[in-house]
């Protein structure tokens, strides 16, 4: 009952919330409340030949939008917002912001401050037709506000945005920053729980919400209505072998009105690397490694309201199988509005395949999808 409610109402709510932003950088068509198949799938090829691979919901055809060589692009993830693809290169690849338009298959680079080590970029509402992109500058402890208008870019910086800002979003006339609270300038060592910092547009008073139990040098935030979901990948020691886990990843549910953490859901014991996406079916999809021995990728489905896992089996993660019933492991999972889980897997030679599973977890599609895939988004 609850899940049905979530499946049917949350996409609509999300679409309504998104309406004010439409027009800033491309516009979707009017959202139909009935679940629709995806308009397309975008895969980020982060290694070897960085770029986006675009696929349709059916068929095996794909097209590629090149971003640049690995000396100029090294992102492990991207964001898709209203037909705009945002990704950044770190300090090791030149501190660049890449803004791509899915409709025109074009890309634009913006130079960010040198050695600022960008972490994640988000589309923010712009004024007077301008496009505004926020970028978390991890080594600069700042948020860059990049405004694009008439082919010219300008930048403003919000300083003192935590120890290592990794993500941000807008809510209620404020910029909210996810602080990894890690030593990103040196070795990304986790220094404590992650924090959510509220920086109001007016005034100098900032609020800091400590996300107890949520740790990691990387993570992300997504917002549904007045609730933010902040996830951290966890904390592990990779400096020596065998690797050791200190804290698994976790998700915190934060009520943005009350500025309180509603609940926190740790990921399964021994797991590492929680990266969370909002499925178009209203569930949260978390991709992680089962443990630090095998690094087996797993996908978890969680309810947005109480963060409980929905797996359909004894294990917390989704039991995905091929048509012969053999178990399949996959990474970067996200469901479309029909509840089909899309994910990617890299095989020999880092050849990437897109896999699609039915609601019951049976593989219904497997197509080549570029090489060196690291992230996926459904349009």
């Amino acid at each position: 009952m609850i899940s049905r409610l979530v499946r049917t109402t949350l996409p609509a709510a999300a679409a309504l919330l998104a309406l004010p932003f439409i027009g800033a950088c491309g516009a979707d068509q009017i959202v139909d409340t009935a679940p629709q198949p995806p308009r397309g799938i975008v895969i980020l090829d982060g290694f070897i030949q960085p770029g986006y691979t675009f696929l349709g919901d059916t068929g095996s055809a794909s097209t590629k939008l090149v971003l640049g060589p690995t000396t100029e692009f090294d992102a492990g993830g991207f964001t898709l917002e209203r037909d705009t693809l945002l990704a950044v290169s770190s300090r090791g690849a030149g501190d660049l912001l890449y803004i791509a338009d899915v409709r025109t298959s074009s890309v634009r680079r913006v130079q960010l401050p040198a050695r600022s080590n960008p972490g994640k970029a988000r589309l923010f509402p712009g004024n007077n037709g301008a496009t505004r992109v926020a970028v978390a500058l991890r080594d600069a402890s700042a948020i860059a506000m990049v405004t694009l208008a008439n082919g010219v870019s300008s930048q403003l910086t919000i300083g003192n945005a935590g120890v290592c800002p990794i993500d941000m979003f807008r809510f209620d006339n404020a910029t909210w920053v996810v602080d990894a609270n890690a030593n990103c300038r040196v070795d990304f060592a986790v220094q404590g729980d992650m924090r959510l910092i509220r920086i109001p547009d007016v005034g100098s008073v900032r609020d800091t919400i400590t996300l107890v139990g949520v740790r990691g040098s990387d993570g992300s935030a997504l917002v549904l209505g007045e609730v933010a979901y902040v996830s951290g990948i966890g904390d592990a020691n990779f400096a020596s072998f065998p690797f050791s886990l200190r804290t698994p990843g976790a998700i915190a549910q934060v009520d943005l009105r009350t500025r309180q953490v509603s609940r926190t859901r740790p990921m399964p014991a021994n797991s590492f690397g929680a990266r969370t996406k909002l499925g178009l079916d209203g569930f949260l999809y978390v991709s992680l490694f089962e443990d630090l021995d095998s690094f087996t990728p797993r996908i978890l489905r969680a309810r947005a309201d109480d963060l409980t896992f929905v797996s359909g089996g004894s294990a917390p993660w989704l039991a995905l199988v091929d048509t012969a019933g053999n178990p399949v492991t996959c990474d970067n999972g996200q469901a479309d509005a029909l509840g089909r889980v899309h994910c990617i897997v890299n095989g020999t030679g880092s050849a990437t395949s897109l896999l699609v599973f039915s609601q019951s977890g049976v593989q219904v599609r497997r197509v080549p999808a570029g090489q060196g895939g690291v992230d996926l988004a459904i349009r």
Partner: protein
């Protein structure tokens, strides 16, 4: 009918009957043509008599000071089979002729014919068994200096068929469309390849200690062993007496010296080199949001190298040590490495002893790398790699044999610890037909077959072989000849210690790396040589093919790149070279040479077709050399077609553009008493082409250098 020539003492015959001047003897390696110093000369009036007198040749060439009418001369050197030089029909014209004696290494199989005739020194084909059927080219350091080379890297860049690239000071070499870890580099036979990475860096080998460099294309499983899938680059040291200084663009300063002598029946030598450069050249940074002109920073380097050696009648000891620091400049648009530094230290030691007609060799290599990040000291890293080798070689009946073993070790930051032992047994044999000589010419056929078995810890037994042949048809005195060549081989490259570490369980999959196996390395071609008066022309062309199974290629893992055995790598191609020489007299000559390679090297992995990174489909070069009196002018052209820089499918967006580079040099010789002085002015990249040998790392534009070299001339 093929005739076995093992045991036949092939002799150079000469008569010094009308001896008014002292003839000069030059000793060289039969395989590479490299001059050999430290040869012992014995004078006897009869081959079975006791030597009347003995002489140590400190240099590769020296006068036969004790030669008398009717003498026989035995030339011996450690590591080589001795040669007896005896009477010949044609008298020596001591004022004109130089006796060139080619000594065959103990490691080469007996039975190969070689020519030791009295002649004027000219470039000649190598006749050693290890070069049968192979494309081989050598370059002498004197020629390289005259053409503007100031470093070993610069010297290598002048060789045909060689593709050289460099990003942060280290060099990568590709031969016959190979990946850089598929090339073996040796220094007097000692491998220079770092056991940790499989890559050899010759940047810190002082030019003053080098006599020649030879490139041999194609897999060399028997002589070199693992890692020589694409070919071998062989450096030979020399005992020069030279001092050289060089100044150039971008703060380049260099000083090197070498000296040698003879003491108590041994030849010794020592060399030292110091090099310093800012390398702060300008470039166009097109990797950012907008193209802009910048200057390289943190690209400086300082190197100090020392070498020493002692050569006696029964033992030899050699040492090469170097230390260098440099800024670890990042890619063109990356500022994060502007403070990072690296220091590399290297020590190579090698000894060999004569042991009852066999040779015992021992060598050790030690490499150290320290990486310093002042901004993030926690990221400082160090690695220590070492290797030890022991080898015993000799010849029994018709077969040259080698047996040896060794161990490799790696220790590094982060708990990196790898080690392994290895051993091998190799044998090869040559056959040669009798020279079917006729007054107007003749023909000769040579075959060489070799087998090798490597047993390496964790990799099992790895058998390899090579089979090569040549059929040479020549005119009188071999001034003109046509040679048909063919060669097939199988080779192996075991995973490096880094390969093994990064493929271990902390990566995405628990997997054991298998050796990379060249299941077929084949070449077929022809060489021609035509001599007419003062003109000589030569050419060679080959078709080549190589299939490599379980290629070890690094692809992304979950925390970076990890090596994996990936599919099959196929190479098909052709390579050729032509040269034209004209010598008007002893002081005026003209030489024109050009080479070209065309390779299609593709890794097939599932649905992916991945061209081998940095292998251009077409590459070539040419050289024009004019020598008139004491002046030498050289123009060197190098050209590369488009070449991929990623391990991904062919995509023009991930290819470096074609480039052509022109270097010019002018050298003036200044004959001084007891010294030959050479002043060289060189301009590299004359047309100031903006290019990259490694994607993201700009190479210098036009640059200049002036060098002054003093070479001691024995009286």
């Amino acid at each position: 009918m093929m005739t076995l020539l093992w045991g036949t003492m092939v002799s150079a015959l000469f008569d010094v009957g009308a001896l008014h001047q002292t003839p000069v003897l030059c000793v060289q390696d039969a395989a590479t043509g490299a001059p050999l110093t430290g040869a012992h000369v014995s004078y006897v009036s009869d081959p079975v008599a006791i030597a009347r007198d003995r002489q140590l040749l400190v240099e590769a060439c020296g006068p036969l000071t004790s030669l008398r009418h009717g003498d026989h001369v035995t030339v011996a050197r450690l590591g080589y089979r001795p040669q007896i030089v005896t009477r010949r029909e044609r008298p020596v014209d001591a004022s004109r002729d130089t006796l060139v004696v080619s000594l065959v290494a103990l490691s080469a199989p007996p039975g190969t014919t070689w020519s030791l005739e009295t002649r004027i020194v000219t470039a000649r084909r190598n006749d050693d068994a290890t070069t049968i059927g192979r494309t081989t080219q050598s370059l002498d350091v004197s020629d390289a200096r005259a053409a503007g080379a100031g470093t070993v890297n610069g010297m290598i860049a002048m060789l045909p068929y060689v593709s050289l690239r460099s990003a942060r000071g280290e060099t990568g070499l590709s031969l016959r469309g190979s990946r850089r870890e598929q090339v073996a580099i040796t220094l007097d036979g000692l491998p220079l390849n770092d056991p940790a990475t499989g890559i050899a860096d010759v940047s810190d080998v002082p030019l003053a200690s080098v006599r020649s460099v030879t490139v041999q294309l194609g897999a060399d499983p028997v002589a070199t062993g693992s890692g020589a899938s694409g070919g071998v680059l062989a450096l030979t040291t020399g005992r020069q007496r030279v001092i050289s200084t060089r100044l150039g663009a971008f703060g380049q300063r260099q000083l090197e010296a070498a000296w040698g002598g003879a003491t108590a029946g041994t030849v010794w030598h020592a060399s030292a080199a110091w090099r310093d450069a800012d390398n702060d050249y300008g470039f166009v940074n097109d990797a950012g949001a907008e193209s802009q002109r910048e200057v390289r920073v943190n690209n400086d380097e300082q190197r100090l190298s020392l070498s020493a050696g002692v050569l006696g009648a029964r033992a030899q000891f050699a040492l090469l040590g170097s230390t260098g620091t440099r800024g670890m400049v990042g890619a063109a648009n990356v500022r994060a490495f502007d403070a990072d530094r690296a220091r590399t230290d290297r020590l190579l030691v090698r000894t060999q002893f004569a042991l009852r007609g066999t040779q015992l060799l021992a060598g050790a290599r030690w490499f150290a790398l320290e990486y310093r990040d002042p901004v993030r000291p926690a990221l400082d890293a160090r690695a220590r790699a070492s290797a030890a080798d022991l080898e015993w070689r000799g010849a029994a009946r018709h077969v040259a044999w080698r047996v040896g073993g060794g161990a490799d070790q790696l220790r590094g930051t982060g708990g990196v610890a790898q080690s392994r032992w290895r051993s091998f047994l190799a044998a090869d044999r040559s056959w040669a037909s009798k020279t079917n000589g006729r007054p107007r010419g003749g023909a000769r056929t040579q075959l060489n077959a070799g087998l090798r078995l490597d047993v390496i810890e964790g990799q099992g037994a790895l058998p390899t072989f090579s089979l090569a042949g040549e059929h040479r048809v020549f005119a009188r005195r071999e001034a003109s000849a046509v040679t048909l060549t063919g060669r097939v081989a199988q080779a192996v490259r075991v995973p490096t210690l880094y390969d093994l570490y990064f493929s271990s369980p902390q990566r995405l999959f628990v997997r054991t790396l298998a050796p990379e196996r060249v299941t077929l390395d084949a070449s077929a071609g022809a060489r021609t040589q035509v001599g007419a008066g003062r003109w000589t022309a030569s050419s060679e062309a080959s078709l080549v093919a190589r299939n490599t199974r379980d290629a070890i290629v690094w692809f992304p893992g979950n925390f970076g790149f990890s090596p994996a055995n990936v599919g099959v790598e196929r190479l098909r191609g052709a390579e050729g070279r032509a040269e034209l020489r004209h010598a008007r007299d002893a002081r005026s000559s003209f030489a024109l040479s050009s080479w070209v390679t065309a390779y299609r090297s593709t890794l097939v992995s599932g649905d992916l077709l991945i061209p081998t990174p940095y292998v251009p489909r077409v590459a070539g070069g040419g050289q024009v050399r004019l020598e008139h009196g004491a002046r030498v002018g050289t123009a060197l052209l190098r050209a590369m077609g488009q070449r991929p820089f990623t391990a991904g499918p062919r995509n023009p967006a991930f290819e470096l553009p074609q480039v052509a580079l022109l270097d010019l040099s002018l050298a003036q010789q200044l004959p001084w008493q007891r010294f030959d002085a050479l002043v060289t002015f060189a301009v590299e990249n004359v047309t100031n082409v903006a290019w990259q040998s490694v994607r993201g790392f700009p190479s210098p534009g036009r640059s200049w250098a002036i060098a002054f070299t003093l070479r001691h001339s024995p009286p």
